[in-house]
Structures are given as structure tokens and as C-alpha cells.
Symmetry: C2
Subunit: 141 residues, 2 copies
């Protein structure tokens, strides 16, 4: 059994009920900064927690992202990835292996000018291309 204390603390701080699916999914995201999809989360945790359902992974990621504990990212092909690093940063999407990498970016508010009369909830900066690993493999082939 893993130590879920960090996940538990964060859930409590948000006033969310402590449940096994939430602990397992959130702890997985805290430990794995790979920006997984729900499918990847499910398959990564189902061995250690056989009773978890696909539905719960979807429900939990939805709840956690609505509460702001995690980020919900949409890839260039429209698939949803989740990220427990919830402070502002950009993402690089590899067109070959579909991996998602973090980008360090300067403060975005310095140049963002909202449309007059609009309210902005979030800003996203992303890039797509070929990741270092795939670039290396291409040279070999």
C-alpha cells in the first residue's frame, strides 16, 4: 500500500471527500509527470487497484481538474491529458510518439491583452513537433 498522505492532504484542503479512486488516481499523477490520458492512468493503476473502474478515472480527473488540483490538457488531436503540476507552464506535443513534455515559458500576462469585454479563465501555450527521442531515432533509420 502506497503512502497517500500528500494526495489526502490536498483533497482535504479542497474540501473533497477522501475516496480510494481519488487517492489512487491523484497519487499516480503526483508521481508520474508524463501527462497521461484517462486510458493510460487506468492501465497504470489497475494492477495495484483491481476494483477501479474506467468511469472512476474519468470522474476523478474531471473532479480534480474542476477543483484546480490538476490541469486538463487537450492534445493537437483532441485527446485529454492530465497534469498534477497545476502552475502555469507550456506543453510540447510529439507528433510521432504522442508524448507530452513541459515547456518553461516567461510570464504570459506581460503580453496578453484580453479582448475588450471578455473574461479570461486560462491561457494556454503549446508547441508541436518531434521530441528529442523521436528525432534521435529518425537519424538512425
Amino acid at each position: 500500500m502506497r503512502d497517500f498522505s500528500r494526495a489526502e492532504k490536498a483533497l482535504k484542503a479542497e474540501g473533497l471527500r477522501i475516496t480510494r479512486p481519488r487517492l489512487v488516481v491523484y497519487d499516480y499523477l503526483l508521481d508520474n509527470k508524463t501527462h497521461p490520458t484517462c486510458d493510460q492512468i487506468y492501465h497504470s493503476i489497475v494492477n495495484d487497484y483491481p476494483h477501479i473502474s474506467f468511469s472512476s478515472v474519468y470522474n476523478v480527473t474531471e473532479k480534480l481538474s474542476n477543483s484546480g488540483l490538476i490541469l486538463k490538457l487537450v492534445s493537437p488531436c483532441g485527446e485529454m491529458h492530465y497534469d498534477s503540476t497545476n502552475c502555469f507552464h507550456g506543453h510540447f506535443y510529439c507528433l510521432k510518439c504522442s508524448c507530452v513534455l513541459d515547456l518553461d515559458l516567461p510570464d504570459v500576462k506581460s503580453f496578453y491583452k484580453p479582448i475588450s469585454g471578455s473574461t479570461t479563465t486560462s491561457i494556454t501555450i503549446s508547441a508541436e513537433g518531434i521530441c528529442p527521442m523521436c528525432s534521435k531515432n529518425e537519424q538512425v533509420n
Copy 2:
């Protein structure tokens, strides 16, 4: 019958075959800067061109975006929108009415530092929130 000369010229310049679906879809996008989805494009043009198929709208937008004539945008909920303004600019996605608005942004290359060893194909900057129209309507209610 509309004047498709601008669309035809651009298709020729890209070495693409001139077909009715391509002319109709591309001309529609040149005239309507609303960032429509394939579904919206189809329903907007089907009255004037009853023989067009859904498949063709998907095929044409795919072909035009692969050739660079149009941009393919992915919304925060993962749906694809198309834009005949193919130079760099950002987009604002309204969470209420799902409209997509253009954002003027400074040159992005000034602050983007690619991950070492990676190749970048494109950079995207987007914001989400409530558009001016929806903000105004909210005040009334």
C-alpha cells in the same frame, strides 16, 4: 454561382486539383472567419451545393490544412475548427457559446525556446473564458 477565383488560384498554387468540394469549402472559409467545425461548414454550404457530402468536408479540410492553406484548431473540448487565416495568431474560445475569436499577439519566437534536440512544427497560443457577447448577456440575466 459564386466567384471561386481566389480559392482556385490558391489551390493551383499548391498543386492541388481543382474540384467543386474544394472550391466550395475553401471559398466558404475565405468568406467566413468564424472558425467553423466540419459540421458547421457542411450545414452552411449544403443549401447552395446539395450534392456535397459530409465526407468531402472532412476530406477537404484535412487536405487544405495538410497543405498549409488553412489552419486546424483544436478547441478546449477537443473539437476541430478551421481557419483560412493561416498566418500566426492566437485564439479565444468562449466556454459559453463555443465561439472562437482571433487574438493579436506579438511574435512568439522572441520568447519560445525549443527543447534541446526537438523539432518544432508549430506553436499555439490560446485563451478561454467568456466572450464579450456572452458577458453582456450574463449581466442582463
